[in-house]
Symmetry: C2
DNA sequence: TTGAAAGCGCTACCAG
DNA sequence: CTGGTAGCGCTTTCAA
């Protein structure tokens, strides 16, 4: 074959010769056509008509060489990518989110986007934004693990990112913001407790870092709801360990609380267990309400009352992303997701 | 300014003018130097000495323009990327994995790799491999959610991927394989049950798709261990729903099992709850063993016995990835991670 | 110490 | 219907 003449300098001479990775030029040579034709055939370019025999020759050559197009080259040439970047969460928020994530990814891929999660643990907002911007994604969909500051948005914008979508506790300007009504979650729980006759209500505040952006607003909402009804709210710091829960349960009698909103179902389980072990009757002495409606909660005894949180569907969000990228969605929008409601079981 | 002459065709004429994204050429122009100099300065190229005033001018210009390098262009020019691709799991495997994931990402970033998770839900092995290959990552680290077939490995190899690392239930050839000893997990559980006097042992097999690659080998290991001791193993299909668990619990007496390995702690909780509700005494009539050592298990009553699974550390793996990329780790290796041991609590 | 220029792989224009 | 070719943004060799 003619290629053998320009045997390329081999990268790894030691072991398997590892021929250089095939390019569209290699495909063209093997098929006896031009690189342009290869591009037309492999991309099914409709603006140009290639004879069927030629198409087949090209496809066969590509198959034989194991040709895979080079995304970076395509991006460079096109001037834009079809990548949607999701800053990856450092805290797994449970089945609710993971289901949502899967739906989103699946829907975006149907729209021909390449979905990529970028781990951004421990990066400052601007540093993270720069790292994301290097990849020149078409859109960034942030689910709240890294704060999206105005500076970050500006960095992304200037790097050609077409759309920034945030899902979080408050709107980030210049973005399409989906605001989860966290205060509403706390308020729903507390209103329910009050409606069932409770007056002194504890609100668990996780000590784990990274949950503050959720727990703060939930506490705030709880306070508002309690204030409106003349009830009392007591913040209860709690780490996700048995020791911390035991310690809290030990001083429970002194706190004289008749109800508690435990942040979510997992903390609720932790706390409820500790309370029961310490001899506190649930819901007799203290009612407990979690959040997220995990299967877990139905397995506890008493069955756990919970706040089911309103969440946007993955498919719906994918469409928003798509419209935001092609400009149809306008410059910046804000949408409040507030539909949290209590599911009463046996613990309240 | 001179740029105003060649005002580029604006992408989105409607709203904010959105000036074209700045390139290193723009930085060079603003700083009054050549593009080469810009590259030298911003990459701290040591082979070349640039005067301090020039460096400062370049950096200032970059800052002013909000310049962010274009990863695709860099990759294209360099002929290789520093991207490590992790096919993202479609099933959240719990805190054990998520901790591992974070460590791995963090460690890889310290080694100056760009870590990217690629959602590959529902793709055939070869299709997934091609999708990954388009990004020309330096390495692919598969944690077992998509099967890595020999064909897939070949596709990746031919696309210049330097290293393929698999963590899974068996070794994939041509890769660096870390084999989790799943049979060992089942065996450990069953041996423990036998040692504590059980003879007819159920093994839960989750009906959820995607877990088969774990549950199958665990069942196999359980069978081997039972066979060696003359005990009996009964496979128990179970979906992760209350109904499925209730149904299983209802026919429990007929099964006449005195022990059960419940796949993991979550299924164990589900089953144990259903058994207790149906009036079966745990561990009196039936002993229950889970796996993964979740905090959850310690909160149950009786406290759940569990198999703690041996796992490689994220940092350690990051180093393997690094050596595999630069060739130091050799062509293909295999390492068995077998160190599972039972933590006995109260349910067995 | 700095600049000019080639070229990575690909696509889209324009000629033939 | 097919081929030639420019050029996306970047790094790096070679020359000045």
């Amino acid at each position: 074959m003619s290629q053998s003449i320009e045997q390329p300098a081999d990268g790894t001479p030691g072991r398997t010769p590892a021929r250089a990775v095939p390019t569209s030029a290699d495909v063209a040579r093997l098929a006896g056509v031009s690189r342009a034709t290869v591009s037309y055939v492999l991309n099914n370019t409709s603006a140009v008509r290639i004879s069927e025999p030629t198409r087949e020759r090209v496809r066969e050559a590509a198959r034989e060489l194991g040709y895979v197009p080079h995304a970076a080259a395509r991006t460079l040439r096109a001037g834009h990518s079809r990548m949607v970047l999701l800053p990856a969460a450092h805290v797994p928020i449970g089945p609710l989110y993971s289901r949502f994530f899967n739906d989103l990814q699946w829907a975006l891929r149907r729209l021909d986007y390449t979905v990529v999660q970028y781990g951004s643990v421990g990066l400052a907002p601007e540093a993270a934004a720069r790292a994301w911007a290097e990849l020149r994604p078409a859109a960034v969909v942030s689910t709240g693990e890294v704060e999206v500051t105005p500076e970050a948005v500006e960095i992304l914008r200037r790097s050609g990112v077409k759309a920034v979508i945030t899902i979080g506790t408050r709107d980030a300007d210049g973005t399409h913001s989906l605001v989860l009504d966290q205060p509403g979650v706390g308020a729903a729980a507390v209103e329910h407790l009050i409606a069932t006759g409770r007056r002194r209500i504890g609100v668990v505040v996780p000590e784990e870092p990274g949950l503050g952006m959720f727990s703060g607003p939930r506490l705030e909402g709880a306070r508002r709801a309690a204030g409106a009804a003349g009830a009392t709210v007591v913040p209860l710091p709690l780490a996700y360990t048995e020791e911390s829960a035991e310690e809290l349960a030990a001083r429970w009698p002194g706190l004289a609380l008749d109800g508690v909103f435990a942040y979510n179902d997992e903390y609720a389980m932790l706390l409820m267990r500790a309370l029961q072990d310490a001899g506190t009757d649930v819901p007799g002495e203290t009612a407990v309400v979690g959040a997220d409606d995990l299967l877990l909660g139905r397995l506890l005894r008493p069955r756990l009352s919970t706040v089911r949180i309103d969440m946007i569907g993955g498919h719906e969000l994918a469409e928003l992303v798509d419209r935001a990228i092609d400009g149809t969605a306008g410059g910046a929008t804000r949408r409040l997701l507030s539909g949290s409601r209590v599911i009463r079981r046996e613990s309240s």
